[in-house]
Structure formats: C-alpha cells, structure tokens
Symmetry: C2
C-alpha cells in the first residue's frame, strides 16, 4: 500500500477500500445536512450557551442550509420562528440537535422518526453514563426509536459535529478554515480545548465529531469514516472506551495503514477507567490491552491534549528525517543546557560541531557570550539583526513587519548560520529555541520582534528538517509579549512548540513513526544515526 | 532536631550551627553593602540593558545605600556622575558589579582590591566556561587578585544578587516583596524565569544569588548560608556542577536537615553534562551520582523550573496530609477523567464517595450533567452561584469582587459541598480544578469570574488539605480570560497549579517528603493510605 509523508503526498483516501466497499462512505451524508433543527433552544439563562453553540455559530459562519428552531413555547429568536414541535417544521429536516432534558428525548426522537429525520445529535446528558438503571433504559429507547426510522444517533452527552467546509461550526470562536486533521472525540470539553489549542499552533481540522456515549455511531464507525475521508490526512482520536474490541482492531489497522493515527486513550489508569465509565458509560479495556493494540496497529499513543497537538505539529509540519542527530540553537546558557537535557533524554544526540564550522561561527558569534559546542547559545550573535528589526519596524505591527522581512529573504546572520549548518555532515534536525522569561529585561510585544523574532526568522530560513520552540512564558507579561512571534511562527507554517520537553517527545515519536513507515523517508539523503529505543515512557 | 511544616513552624535557622559556628554567617555581609558601584555601565546599545538591570532596579526600589557609576569616558547618567575609575569614587565601596569585557576585568579587580572593596560580582562572561586555556587563566587571575584583597567573587558569568528586603533588585519588574524562598542559581536566565513564574503563582523570595562559574563563592557556600539564614524557610537550587563533592554532601545534609531543599540539577543527560561544562565550566558528576546524593541527604529532586515552582507551591501552601486518598472536583467530564489519570499515575487513589454523602450531593448537583463518583464533575452544580457572582459583580473588577465574596464567607453551594467533604472518612486531600478551554463558549475575563471563580472560592472555603488547578488555557483568549482568577488564587494563598500533571507530581513529592520527615505530620488525624512507591520517574 502506497504511503507518503503527511505533509506532502499522502494518498487520497477515496482510493482506499472502506468497510462498505462503496464509492461513498455510509457516514458521509451526516456531514452534509440540507437543514438543521435545534430542539430545546432558549434565550433563558443558563441555556443561553446552547443558542451560542448551535445557532450563533451557524449564522455567523453562513451555514448554507435551512435552520429551524424548536421550543414548545413558540415565539421567535434572532428573526427565526420557533416551532412548537419538529412536526410543525415546514420542510425536510436532515439533522436535529436535541437539547432537552433526557426524560423528554424519546418523545422528540419519535417525532423526528415520523418526519423522516436522518441524523439526531443528542446534546443532553443523563443517560447510561450515570450508571442508573432507568437512565440506561432511557438510552436504549433512543436506539430503538432510531432503528425504527433508520436514523443515526450522535451521542448522547456530546457536542456533535464541527465541519468547517460545510460551515457547520460549534463555539463561534473556532477557526473555520478547513485543514487536514480529522478528530473524533468522546468528550465535549476536549473538542474545544483541542480545537483552540491546535489553531493557536497553526493547525486546522477537516471535521470533528464529538460522540459522547456512542449509543449508535461509535469510535469504530468514525475511524472507518476518517480512514476513507479524502479531506482528512491525519486522524486524531480521544477515546474513553470501545464498544466492540474486535471491530476496533480491524478498523484501526485499516486507518493506520492509510494515514497517521494519533490516539489519546482517556481513562488509562485503574481509577481513570472507572471515571471514564462514569463519564461516557464506556466499557473500557485495561491499559495493557490498549497499549498492545495501539502498538500492533501502528498508531501513535499520546497522554494529553497538549501532547496530541505536539505530535500533530510534528507529523504535519516537520519534514521527515532519518536519524537522531540534532543541533539546538537559541538564546541563553541555562536554556541551552535544559534544551540539551530534554532532547537527550528523548534519545536525540547533540553531536559536536565540526571544527571548520565552529571556526566560521566564531566570525559572527562572540565566544564571550555564547556556547559554540552544540548546543549553540547564540549569545549576542543575532543582536545586530534584532536591533535592525526593531529600528526599521518603527511603530508598525511586529507580525506584519516580520512577515515582510521573511518574504524578503530574512536576516543576514541567520542566512549565514543556516548556510553553515547545511555543510554539517550527518546532522538530521535543527531545533531553534527562545525562552521569553530567561531575558533579564522584561520584554514588550514590539521589542520581542527583535530577539525572539530573529529566532523565528532564522528557523524559517533553515532548509534542514527543523522545529522552533518558544517557551518560558512564566507570567502574564511575557505571555503577552510572545503573542506576535508565536502567531508569526504558526502563520509561516513552522512547527511551533511551546516547551522543549513537549517538542523533544513529539519529535522522537515522529522519528519512530517515520522509521516504522519507511515510505515516509523515501528520497532522503543517507542516514545519520538510527533511532534507539526511547528512554521516556 | 526539631522540624515543622514549611508553612507553619519551621525552626528559625539562626538557632542552627553553621560551618563557622559563629553567630553571623561569614557570607551574611554580602547581602548588606553600604554602597554599590557599577563598572562598565553605558547608555549605548546594546549595553543599555545593563543600565536597566543594575541601575534602574536600584533606583526604582529605593536602595538605601550609595550608588556609584564607573565608565572611563566620564559624564553622567540619570543625574549620577560617571567616575572614570573605581579609584575616583569618593567613599567606601562594598560591592562592585563588573560589566566590562573579560580581558579588562583583572585591572578593574586590582583597583577594587586597592580601594578595599569587599565583594565583586563579575557579570561578564568569556572565562573558564569557554574551555579556552587563555580564558581559564584569566579566571584564575581574578581569584588570585581577590585573595590578595580578601575580596569575595560572585561569578563570573552571572546575574549576581537579588535581595528584596535590602532593596537590591535585578530586572525592574521582579516582585520586591520578601518571602521564604532562598534560591541559588548557577544560570542567569533561570533566575528571571523562576522569579517571574514563582511570583505569578504567589511565591516570594528571601534572597536569590546567581553565581555562574563559581570561581570563588560556590554552591556549597550558598547552601551553607541559606541553611543558616533565618529569612529563608525553603531552599531552591539550580546547580550545573559541584566544585567539591565531599563538601557539597556535608553541606546539603545540614541544609536538608534544617529546611526543605529542592534541587534542579541542570545537565543531567550525558550531552547535558557536556553542555553544562560549556555553560559554566562546571565539573559535573554523573547523573547516577547526583541522584544517589540527593536521595541520601533527603533533598527533593526536580527536572525543570516549572516543576521546581510546582514543588515549592506544594511545600509552602499545601497543608501536610498523611495518605494518598484524594477527591477531584471540577468542571467537565473529559477533564475529570484526565484529572483522575494524572492523579492516579502519581500514586493517588480516588476513593469512592460514601453513599450518604453522594445522596446529599444529589440534592444540589444534577445527576444529568455531572459525575458523582469521585471524580466529581460538578456539571451545572455551581451554575446558580456563578450566575449570582456575575450578576452582582456588575462592572466591578472581577478579582476585587471575588475577594469580597471570599472574605464574606464564599458561596452557599461551595460551603455545602465542603461541609459534606469534611464528613468523608479517610479523605486526605481535595483537588479543585477548572479547565478554561473545555468550555464550549469562549470565556471573557468578567464571565470567568463565574465558573472558574466559584471553583477558586470553593477551594478557599475548603478546610481539608487542598490544591487548586487552573488549566487548559490553550489560546491567547483563554489565557487572558484566566488572569483574574489565577491572580485571585495566588493572592488568597491557595496552592495554585497550572496543569493537573504538574500538580499531581508535586503533590506526590510533597507526600513522600512529609513521610520522610514525620515531624511534618505531627498532630494530624489518623492516617489514610500510606504512600506507595510512585509510578512516575
């Protein structure tokens, strides 16, 4: 089976066989509703946020289908009539979001069945996840009614669909630019955390499905769908439990053969397993079983949302590299020592700089304020460039000016440095880094364009596989000062990390993944060091 | 030897014997200079930041001694004359900061010796850390000159002193409120990162010494000093290498017997060891040796500045607890599962809620939107309180209003919840948590006073050993929204953590530390579960 790097020539998955062996995946239609009805919407507090989630996001994002609102009290909201029942809706209804309390849901479901609704997303909770027998029975009734009408259920107890290309939004602030990541997420909260955090790192989503208790559409359905989905190049999954272990193995295998699959198994500890059951009613297998399964199918396992984003950044933005020889370049002695420790314990090797390159570096990096042995502490090496940036930028927005400098070829010392790095035999990867709070003088946003900005510009100019780590925003002031250069790095398409530990772990997982799928390394120059087993869990 | 909890009755260390067995420690005088001279100060770029570090911080903080400036060009700066040489200074000089290039330093040192200077802080770098023979020799000359004049040297290649009580500042933004932490730091960058990050979490410092290459005053001198210092209740150390291993063991033992000692050994990997040598010229021992040494003396080892701050928060702000039975309480199902996993893998146990307490909780926590099995997902449980906060607060600053609510006894549902928790037999610790980006609706600063604010108020009201974790600030908007409640938690004296993983690891280290020093647990009620070996490295 043909495979390519995620950021280059990944096979378009429409060519792949899927479980249905048809041209269109059986779940495809759930992403293309002609109309959406929101049942139980209300302007009353505290339900106002349902309006914000499911009405305002559709209006703001110009969802092209019909929007229907349903509330037994009638009236209108934002210029739209409120129908007293789904049965009063004067047109076909493809997708219904049900936001009424659990006890009222079966009746709404029956009405949906009767008018020919295709997909019901049950937002409300209070079903099997409570562990109470009557509420498990309530969930079973939803399934029974859906079967009678050939309806599919998303949920209950979840946020439902996010499909930027189809203008189906969620929280009104989520980025609606489509991208390569398909994300299935058993939790609702992890949808918004993941979507916002990934967006701040420059990543974009094809589709997100928050699927909660999975009483009908489950993790296997969604993995199978994303495996076939041409709009999805990388699959990310937050899963608390499996409903059908044998099917999950089969589907994961197919998905991981088609494209990178990153899995965060929520509830990996014994107490966490119990918590997962209490959250989404999941029958979760033991952690050992999950670990073996994910290894067997060739998926990448992560242990937090932050790590998931780190690994996705690595997969989508770091050019494949073959060995583990790295050079760390940044500002600060302590920061350079810490960068070395983190990279080293992830299994990377900071190989010595060849003497000829070191001598050339001395021409513009002052030995008195720097370390020139890999790690390279630039010391004052970039100060002339940084000062020039701040002087020429004047009162213009830092990000805007730095983009222009990047487009015009970057800064002279960074070009010189990168030209030297290219001559370094056996170097696999360059990690540029800057720590905001290691500066003895507190940074402001404009001045941050100088030092940190020149690190980002240097990383952008670098033609080797690379990453950029902007870290140590220890207080509100330094976080604020870092906004423009973080945004710049994300916008320039750089692999941006916010901690050296996170970067090192994700880059090592990328290295291991590339070794396991050698097609990703095809066409690369001769190898550096082969990866050794990681020292990290 | 008497020992007490760090946040309560720690022995005042003036009663302790020190190496000199005198009433005043031989290093005490370095913190009390009658005058400070800054040599090599200049208004020229890029040296301007030396002015900001060493002149502006003294003026802004109203240092009560004399300030003298020295620059061979003469002239004046900020209304102060610039003397052409230290020899021209018209009064006694106790402390000199030397900021001239390395090659010029021996001559300045000789002049300092001749006028009777007591302490020289050599800011400049370019000495033994470069590994170049001529620069090692240069450093040796500094030591020789200092000996002739009975001067002490701080550095070279470091930031020097920070002593809030004596109004000796560094970067002008560092918090000048004195506190219990004495910090010795071989790196300069880690001083500012640590000082700013710790301050944002509510921690304060007695004294910080950045000591760089340690050609004279070294890690053992400083540990010995802090062990005896009555103003220091907890010692934190970033150390890249030891100059005298046998003495370090002896001094660390004495220090760790007197008060908690937290050590971040920079350069713990093989490549990191080499980097440390290149940074501060340290002769660093192998990681195994350090690990054994720190265990033997009873110090707490950490692996990052962030972890150091987490552990200090735990030591200084979490009341000692005996067992590992924890209850996690917060917002969000996924967040509750993840909290459970992190606490569980640190060795904590989320014991089931006694049925009676669970029944009482159901009276005000709606089962449909929550988890009531420990972890407790409050769901909409605090929504009425949160709505009341936002409504009553009006346009007032959130932090100000919440402080008033806290002072007036907090919110009714939180009080009810905490009263129930107090009846829970065997519960050792309560961890309150809120994730900002798990909210489907993006938060603004004012609205964040409601949900997250009520979590902070609940934690404040809780009378059991407790921690509060405010996490998942995944983008700029949520970070901004979290500012007021983070500040509130820090100001209220709560143990504030910014990630569940960090909190769990630090709380576990605290539990282990308290078990190793049973005096800390004296007077506590009967034990819950005894700590088991941690599953984490």
């Amino acid at each position: 089976m043909k495979r390519g790097p995620a950021n280059a020539t990944l096979m378009t998955a429409t060519d792949m066989p899927n479980e249905s062996h048809g041209a269109t995946h059986p779940l495809e239609y759930i992403f293309h509703p002609r109309s959406i009805a929101i049942v139980g919407i209300s302007a009353d507090l505290p339900k106002l946020w349902i309006k914000r989630l499911y009405l305002e996001s559709l209006i703001k994002n110009k969802y092209p289908g019909q929007i229907y609102l349903v509330n037994p009290k009638g009236g209108e909201m934002d210029g739209l009539p409120m129908y007293r029942s789904v049965k009063d809706i004067p047109g076909p209804v493809d997708h219904v979001v049900i936001c009424v309390p659990a006890a009222h849901t079966p009746k709404i479901m029956e009405e949906c069945r009767d008018i020919g609704v295709k997909v019901v997303h049950v937002f409300s909770s209070g079903y099997a996840e409570t562990g109470e027998p009557d509420r498990i029975e309530l969930q079973n009734r939803l399934v029974a009614v859906a079967k009678q009408g050939n309806m599919r259920i998303i949920g209950p107890n979840c946020l439902g669909l996010f499909y930027p290309k189809g203008r189906i939004g969620l929280s009104a602030d989520l980025c609606m630019e489509p991208g390569p990541i398909g994300f299935l997420c058993q939790s609702g909260g992890n949808v918004t955390f993941m979507a916002r955090h990934a967006a701040s790192r420059g990543l974009r989503f094809s589709k997100i499905v928050s699927y909660g208790n999975a009483c009908d559409i489950d993790e296997s359905d969604l993995l199978d769908y994303f495996a076939s989905d041409a709009e999805t190049k990388v699959i990310a999954a937050y899963i608390e439990g499996a409903h059908d272990g044998a099917r999950l193995v089969k589907v994961l295998k197919r998905a991981a053969a088609a494209k990178p699959v990153v899995v965060f198994k929520g509830g990996f500890s014994p107490d966490g397993l119990r918590a997962a059951a209490s959250h989404t009613g999941s029958l979760a297998g033991s952690d050992t079983v999950w670990d073996g399964l994910l290894k067997q199918v060739g998926a990448i396992r992560v242990y937090s949302v932050e790590e998931m984003v780190d690994v996705l950044v690595a997969l989508l933005r770091v050019r494949p590299f073959r060995g583990l020889n790295v050079c760390a370049i940044g500002h600060g002695g302590g920061a350079s020592v810490m960068a070395t420790d983190e990279l080293s314990r992830a299994g990377f090797r900071l190989i010595p700089i060849p003497e000829g390159i070191r001598e050339s570096l001395k021409e513009f990096v002052d030995l008195a304020n720097s370390m020139l042995r890999n790690p390279i502490d630039l010391g004052t090496g970039f100060v002339p460039d940084a000062m020039e940036i701040v002087a020429k930028m004047g009162s213009r927005p830092p990000g805007e000016y730095l983009r222009e400098v990047a487009a015009a070829g970057g800064m002279p010392r960074a070009r010189r440095l990168n030209a030297l790095l290219k001559q370094w035999p056996g170097l696999d990867l360059v990690v540029y880094h800057h720590g905001f709070d290691i500066s003895p003088v507190p940074l402001e946003r404009a001045r941050a364009a100088g030092g940190p900005g020149s690190i980002v510009l240097a990383a952008y100019d670098c033609e080797l596989p690379k990453a950029v780590v902007l870290h140590s925003m220890g207080d509100n002031n330094s976080f604020e000062a870092s906004i423009d250069v973080r945004q710049l790095a994300a916008d320039l398409g750089l692999p941006l990390f916010l901690s050296m530990r996170g970067a090192a772990a994700a880059l090592r997982k990328l290295a291991d993944y590339n070794m396991a799928y050698p097609e990703r390394l095809a066409g690369l120059a001769e190898p550096g060091t082969e990866p050794q087993p990681s020292h990290r869990a």
